[in-house]
Amino acid sequence: MSKQTERIFVKGNEAVVRGALAARCKCFFGYPITPQNEIPELMSSELPKAGGEFVQAESEVAAANMLLGAGACGIRAMTSSSSPGISLKQEAISYMAGSNTPAIIVNMNRGGPGLGDIGPAQGDYYQSTRGGGHGDYRLLVLAPATGQEAYDMTIKAFDLAYKYKNPVMILGDAILGQMKEAITPWQPEGIDDEAGREWSLSGAKGREKRLIKSLYLEEGALAGQNKNLQKKYEDMQSYVEYEEFETEDADLVVCAYGSIGRIAKSAVRNLRKQGHKVGLFRPITLYPFPSAALLALAKQGKKFLTIEHNLGQMVDDVRLAIRTVADSDFAPIYPGNLPIPEDIEGPVLEWLEGK
């Protein structure tokens, strides 16, 4: 990896685009929806300059299916949207998962359900980590908390998509997408543009024909396919990332991810100044979930409070991780509101007083 010293001041959405371009993304398929419009806008001007193809699709349904087509050709490709649009993309995402097709899907989560609002929220956690479309499948889900992480993780997402031949989701929110901050771009080295050469579609010249499909009708074939997928999801378990902050001597560990994880870090700092022994556990991969690290904390006797920008979704994964030794309480931040550290300090203090 080569560091580029010049810092740039960009929105999270732009950081994603810059990361994708650095990762040599060659096809982008978009459809407008707030708060992610800067992604297709910037892609439309920058991708052709980089020798790539931008298509504004007629719908999110079409955009995700275009992604399926480009992914099947082994081309580094991406789409982005926000919550209602991601619902429409689920059809193709299930097909990509079922046919082992690499692809990058960015979700700048907004408030829901339904049309909701355009403000920040984390209500799409279940949809992202449980499949979202039909069938037994999983996506790799990465949750950046800063513009720099958005840049870094977009680059990483392409490598992971090819490594596992699986769709990868970058799950941000309206705070991350719309906030401007300085990032330091860097250029990854050793990208193999032809990474899919052994399996992708390129015309059957000089070799056997290839087929990318998710239909398995013969007796036992679908069971075999699902076993293979399951094996892949087990392999993915070795790829987990998380941040621990001030957990060592903490009595209470706040679990929070993405933008809320970042705000919770400020809250933990403030509470530490007041002498409270609190720490932060921030999952960075939401699937696979960093269960082992959480369990290790639980075994040290720590208590847990999960805080999310929804009505309680990731808390299920926290509880599953620590269920043999501990439990986690939960405090919601209602979707659409823009929280500040005090909004997290409040429930933590309440919890401390109550215990």
Partner: protein, 253 residues
């Protein structure tokens, strides 16, 4: 006397029995596609996008790279394939339920963008694979399992004429309708399909051919009766011919 081989299986077509019902025209359409891929020398450069319906297994019969699309989305998948591999011959093959119902948005927009792809549209006026339900192309009076007393204009609306709609779009280079019910019409179908494929080979944009096709099983007819039905009932409502041909005008983009 030495023997001279005058008719053979195209390289693009795999030597195996198809799963289609007796008298089904999907097999005839497959054969023409295979012959054309060979004759135009694109078999090894083809990426086929298959649709949902009786033809989903086309990839088992053609010797080409292929990807399976969700129901109706083949034109979007093909758009992605073409964006990724501009130099390949990209083909979708879709039934009427697939293309004219669930996939209406995808076909209209791919056509209107002038995607440099070829589309073969097989119109048999029913949903074949799922057991003969009403399609957007089901004729007035035709009985299906979901319009058991016959399609009626007041309740189900008029059968959709896709080639007429497609030919009205600015992005389209070539749009034609043929039928597969007799030798003369099959020859015409091949001629039209050759032109539709030629659009893409010459990088002149979107080529579309509708094929009036029999589904004897769901029409509850013998293959011969089904061929006659195409002549007496379908062609009067879905006239044959070339509806748009700007191949010589340099295409759309």
């Amino acid at each position: 006397m030495s023997e001279k081989l005058v008719f053979d299986r195209p390289q693009a077509v795999i030597d195996r029995a198809t799963h289609y019902c007796p008298g089904c025209h999907h097999g005839v359409a497959h054969r023409i596609v295979g012959e054309l891929l060979d004759e135009l020398e694109v078999t090894q450069d083809t990426i086929l996008v298959t649709a949902i319906g009786c033809s989903v297994f086309l990839y088992n019969y053609l010797n080409v790279d292929a990807v399976e699309a969700p129901h109706g989305r083949a034109p979007a998948v093909a758009t992605g394939v073409k964006a990724a591999r501009k130099d390949k011959f990209v083909l979708t093959y879709q039934g009427d339920g697939d293309l004219a119902s669930i996939g209406m948005a995808e076909i209209i927009h791919a056509a209107n963008r002038g995607e440099n792809i070829a589309v073969v549209f097989v119109n048999n006026t029913v949903y074949g694979m799922t057991g003969g339900q009403m399609a957007p192309t089901t004729l007035i009076g035709q009985r299906t399992t979901t319009c058991p007393s016959g399609r009626c204009m007041e309740h189900e609306g008029a059968p959709i004429r896709m080639t007429e709609i497609i030919s009205s779009l600015g992005g389209v280079t070539y749009a034609a309708r043929a039928a597969l019910n007799n030798v003369k019409n099959i020859r015409q179908a091949k001629k039209f399909m050759r032109k539709a494929f030629q659009c893409q080979i010459e990088k002149k944009g979107f080529g579309f051919v509708e094929l009036l096709s029999a589904c004897p099983t769901n029409w509850k007819m013998t293959p011969i009766q089904a061929n006659e039905r195409i002549e007496t009932e379908m062609i009067p409502y879905f006239p044959l011919g070339e509806f748009k041909d700007t191949l010589d005008e340099g295409g759309t983009c």
